[in-house]
Symmetry: D2
Subunit: 299 residues, 4 copies
Amino acid sequence: MSGMIHDHSRWGPADQIGAANLLTVEKRLGALRSVREGRVYDVSHEIGADAPFMAPNQTPFLLSIWASWRDSIKRRRAMGASNDAGSNVERIEMTAHVGTHIDALGHFSKGDRLYNGLSAPDTVTDWGLERLGIEHAPPMITRGVLLDVAGCDGGAHLNPGRVVTPDELKRAADAARVAIEPGDIALIRTGWGRYFGVDNARYLQGEPGIDLPGARWLIEQGVVAIGCDNMAVEVLPNPSHGVAMPVHQHALAEAGVYLIENLALDEVARDGLSGFCFILLATKFRGATGSPVRPVALV
Amino acid sequence: MSGMIHDHSRWGPADQIGAANLLTVEKRLGALRSVREGRVYDVSHEIGADAPFMAPNQTPFLLSIWASWRDSIKRRRAMGASNDAGSNVERIEMTAHVGTHIDALGHFSKGDRLYNGLSAPDTVTDWGLERLGIEHAPPMITRGVLLDVAGCDGGAHLNPGRVVTPDELKRAADAARVAIEPGDIALIRTGWGRYFGVDNARYLQGEPGIDLPGARWLIEQGVVAIGCDNMAVEVLPNPSHGVAMPVHQHALAEAGVYLIENLALDEVARDGLSGFCFILLATKFRGATGSPVRPVALV
Amino acid sequence: MSGMIHDHSRWGPADQIGAANLLTVEKRLGALRSVREGRVYDVSHEIGADAPFMAPNQTPFLLSIWASWRDSIKRRRAMGASNDAGSNVERIEMTAHVGTHIDALGHFSKGDRLYNGLSAPDTVTDWGLERLGIEHAPPMITRGVLLDVAGCDGGAHLNPGRVVTPDELKRAADAARVAIEPGDIALIRTGWGRYFGVDNARYLQGEPGIDLPGARWLIEQGVVAIGCDNMAVEVLPNPSHGVAMPVHQHALAEAGVYLIENLALDEVARDGLSGFCFILLATKFRGATGSPVRPVALV
Amino acid sequence: MSGMIHDHSRWGPADQIGAANLLTVEKRLGALRSVREGRVYDVSHEIGADAPFMAPNQTPFLLSIWASWRDSIKRRRAMGASNDAGSNVERIEMTAHVGTHIDALGHFSKGDRLYNGLSAPDTVTDWGLERLGIEHAPPMITRGVLLDVAGCDGGAHLNPGRVVTPDELKRAADAARVAIEPGDIALIRTGWGRYFGVDNARYLQGEPGIDLPGARWLIEQGVVAIGCDNMAVEVLPNPSHGVAMPVHQHALAEAGVYLIENLALDEVARDGLSGFCFILLATKFRGATGSPVRPVALV
């Protein structure tokens, strides 16, 4: 069931962070220093009950007020306090793969193997990932590159099932006058993000995105992560019969490259950003297979 | 029940973000440019079932694998895929106030009023905060200032019930050769963080921290947020009879100043950081009263 | 906001169980003694992720294996056990109003008043009902009466919006040769239950059921509870403009009569049951507004 | 890993309900007819946040009001209703093994085998038990037999680690003048139930209970289920080194006999019940490994 081809050996048998090894001090400083105007773009969506989710592997997001100001004031009065300090606290039930989020390397397997040849039976426990969980993903402060392919078919966005090819990625980079370098994070804009939270049925029915050739090309350029304004980065449905989620499998389980999903890229595209400082700080949910995030682009 | 004294009027009756209004472009650029070496310090703890929580308002953190690689491979095979892509996806049940986290302005009330005089009955709904939710907190990229008071009593940390005074905060700033300015985020180190996840019973039993005078002094300096290496920033128990959580109430509900809790500050203290670039990107959980975060300090 | 008309005063100001006061020893013995053949009919549906729920007040049902045999065997081996005892344990997230269930008297209010004039602000807390919770509903072992009105329009079932009138209930009782008596539980069959878990969209879009006149008539006969093979017992949508859920409000909050929803009544109807021993044992979830149940009919 | 000895072959290779096959019409009628006085004893505890749970396999019980009367009235007014019908609905997070509950046959394995030789890898899925889930347990209406051994050591209860022997069970039956017959449900009273919800730390630290010999003896008498007033029916810790939970393993996975835990038996003991009508109706949570229940004894 193995026989996988992958790059992880670049960082040795003990490596858990994959292409995050390419996040060097130089890349970080370069990205920070590239910020001239101090303008911040928020490339994430709000997370709520209206966030789309792909059943059955993903589950709905629920948020409820658990403790309210009224009752907490009563409790505090009962304990002798008279300053009427009310607490509002919620209870959240969710998957980490809700809204704008990053996938951990342990999110996908190839058969019974995870990234770096780790055994899935030994690594995936009832209560999370013993290794390759999102808590191992370092803070990401590096250059982000926007590859805007949304208009490739003459419309406002590409359509479900439409494969974004390596050529199209290259031309988008050229048009933006950037050459992708090791340590970059590539953000692909298909335009599909416009349906997030607006028409979830449509958003979930299928999507434009890259296939293995596009993923391989980006990975060869040395990206740390690939992000996209759709649910899964990769094209759905995949045109090849007999394969499901090959980009997830290759990027996470073979190459150790992260995936960032459900990005909101319309604003950065409208303002013509190409290369920018990109910051993503995954919450360290121990053993989680991903984390909802609020990444930003700065120019 | 009202008669509150507060500063929010500085930003007008429609304001929802409080002291985050002080996060100017200048502060952001200054913070980014202050980064010389490109070294990143992670000032957050991992979040897991062993994270402390203050019952009854807070609830335990639970993470379970919801969909596993084995079963998802079976499902994909049944749908005709043979590449054996297995998904690992979790289900999380939590409060936003778990681990290292930031409080939203709507987290606390003074009687039936929230920040900026908002009506709690109208704002706090079954499913979250209609206004003042954490999704309104902007990305925070600004100068962080470490105020290390842990050694004030000659030991490794201060003790539960020990009030950190304005004088001690000032002297800590002086020792670090920084003067707190508007738009800064102040991080107070009491040393109490050493018990997080190590001895939760102790960590929760009480803590050193600021009281109202310390909070007011910091707020007068124009901080956007006050962070600390304890559960609640403020001293517990509060020495004044008849008041509960007065710093939460004043900072959040009156002054519009954020609180960041359960920080991990031992490393930045050990390396002598005083002023640094501080980045905190709260996840936009709509209507939530806070968000777990993974803030970083850069030098 | 009050000025409600109700019967609860029959059982006094301290009463919390309403018409369950009519579950006398005589009714119980009579019901048990009526069992001649010892045949059991299960009048409940299975509960799973495919159970319909009425958003936004109701939430989806989620069940996940929390601890599995594999990992628990590993843990026990690590603790020295060699008998390889594996535990499978789940985690459930749900509302009590899922699948076949009974409503507690505190489930509905009339303005700020609950059953027996209780104050909703004082009774409904963050964490459940201080009074009138399902734990107060006694074990129900009494006579059940099937009122089969499904064929009243010549078809297999009535349609959404179709009001079942007191006359129709009376005629159904007559046809079954039963006269409803105090302490009985009336089960109304509309035929709508055929869509439960089969076509939830249809099941939820609307339903046939009783309106206030039918509810009042049954309550006047002295029923303890009214059950039905639909989501809400009452007709949806209600034909009167300006009223929502009037039967829930009258039965629970005014009359102290329980409601049992999502019953599976096709089998008992097919076998011609009319009066029978009916047993319903609500789980004592403290403070809950209802409980999923597995009631049975015996003949 | 197999080589198990078990009785299940009595009911054939397709059997999923084990000793519930012994719940005949005769037993049911006999139990119902034995009810002379019509008195009901509730042998269950209330379920709340104070219910004990055995970490890590079991998880805490949480109940929160999800939708409240205030907000639902607002929503209904907004939709044009003026009758001010308020809904109170909760959200529950729990394991099925909370409070008084029954274990499904699929709850335990012997290595990779479940009851009736079923393959655990094939039967235990991410989302529950494909077979042997609690939904298959039939309604249980049969004779219950109280075996009161609480006073065997001269005190009010037995102590943790104390094994209840077959001899002691026999003598308790003799003292109660009952002989256990096929189709009975045996309820063992150790007296340990007094600590449930009163001193959970103590309740959980260990318990008196049967060991394999006692379980085998009861199973040989043909019981459908064994219940007890403790967490696990069986003695904890088990005196044999190298075995964990052998009674669970033998009863559920080998013999197909159910276990009922956390019963409240003080009242039935005080009133001298020995043989009685016992009714337990497990909620049909599909694929669940158990169900909280509210069983009753009638005389």
